[in-house]
Subunit: 149 residues, 2 copies
Amino acid sequence: MRYFEDFRIGEVMETGPATVSEEEIITFARQFDPQPFHIDPAAARKSFYGGLIASGWHTAAIAMRLMVDGFIGNYASMGSPGLDELRWLKPVRPGDTLKVRSTCIGKKRSDKRPDMGACRFSTEVINQNEEVVLSMINIGLIRCRKDAI
Amino acid sequence: MRYFEDFRIGEVMETGPATVSEEEIITFARQFDPQPFHIDPAAARKSFYGGLIASGWHTAAIAMRLMVDGFIGNYASMGSPGLDELRWLKPVRPGDTLKVRSTCIGKKRSDKRPDMGACRFSTEVINQNEEVVLSMINIGLIRCRKDAI
């Protein structure tokens, strides 16, 4: 288990890959983002995007799962207060394979709650062509070691 | 259908409500955010949060669905380049009823692509106690009227 004290600014974590199918894209979007270019291949072909693309929220959710499996599952995680500057930079299309790279860019122990601290990460979701499809600055709340409190 | 020209800075849109069940919270989190406080009621009771809470990505996805049903479905929407300052301000718990309020706070026609413009919205997800559980500044790309191009 990794605690707040264990994070070093500049350290880079990378997840394993996940491939996104057309069925997954449509299933997610029918439930949460039923815009034509996410749920209807024929309408998507005629759209701005020239074909079906994943909801940006789906891409973010896939990234979260990769991060939980890859490293957050081993953090003394207390959740997140939010994120800054999320950008959907490239469409995610059926068959794309995504991985996540996350760099610790800042850390600060809580003044109010000395048993925890906040780490800031610069996170990128990268496709099989090494293109960044999503970038964001996300914040994680992480418990301190008990002997440090 | 609403086009870029139709948006006024200061206009406020509000969606209908949606109630979130424990089953929905666990189903989403098992797939996308399997941290104990999102998927395991017993572990969640012993956690920082004192009970099961929705993944923040689930709250955002529910908000997206409410917005597509409530108003984005009637926009000449071309997707979104991203968002700023997303904050998860309060936990969302089983049985909570959420709605979304979105205020247009800025608009700018694209220099590169005069057939579209970007609108900025200050968006809040509000629970049954009128508490803001999520806030964000989100950006929408919206097509211009054909006769304006």
